[in-house]
Assembly symmetry: C2
Homo-oligomer: 138 residues x 2
């Protein structure tokens, strides 16, 4: 049995965030001491670890709720869990693709402007003003 602070240290999830998860229904309301303080056990620590891991992987609170729901009903869960993970994977890949495009444009912009300009026109500002200078689209 440990306090919310201890749980926080064990999992790396901040105290107010744990309370937030409880409010959102991701974590069940735990036991309380006589003095109304939360007390957690091993099962809760594991659950919070699951949530933390999924959040780190970019799953939304909603998606995590669905995954937990599936976990509690192990029949037909695997296919749906796979679907959620696949969706997550595709959205991560989209983000990577778009950030990679941005990276190439930003580095082009950054290189163009040496920072101590002979130029009376700043390349950074000009590039941002004029989309036509982009080599990629977005």
């Amino acid at each position: 049995m440990f306090s919310i602070g201890a749980l926080s240290r064990h999992t790396g999830v901040k105290v107010p965030t744990i309370r937030y998860y409880e409010q959102m229904g991701l974590m069940c309301a735990p036991e309380r001491t006589e003095g109304n303080q939360r007390r957690y056990g091993r099962a809760e620590r594991e659950r919070l670890g699951f949530i933390k891991h999924a959040r780190d992987l970019g799953f939304s609170i909603e998606a995590i709720s669905a995954l937990i729901e599936l976990n509690d009903h192990p029949d037909r869960s695997c296919a749906e869990a796979s679907e959620i993970a696949a969706y997550q994977l595709s959205s991560v890949r989209k983000k990577i693709a778009s950030l990679t495009r941005l990276e190439s444009e930003l580095s082009r912009i950054s290189d163009g402007c040496s920072g101590n300009g002979i130029a009376d026109e700043c390349y950074v500002l000009a590039s941002l003003a004029d989309h036509a200078r982009c080599e990629t689209d977005h």
Copy 2:
């Protein structure tokens, strides 16, 4: 002279977003008709284009404010603009690196679970529950 709707069509920025930018001080308050409707000119269209482009590149409203500020004071602007762009670039690179790590873990998880399981344990759920199965850290 065009309306907010026309400006929206020209730039691809939604109407409520244009009003929001005005409220935030990114766009100046434009002229109005007698009936109190906004009317924009070429300069405003260009400015909004600048803002749109910078937002698409992930610059925050605050950073864009700073860039516009620099644009209005062309002395010593280039170095500072470069700095803002470089900061932006490094944060984009960090995001790419972390998403790439997530991608490899997610695809590993997805591959592990065929979706129509012989397994009585779902690999997706198990992987999320057990961080120790990760090959990368996060």
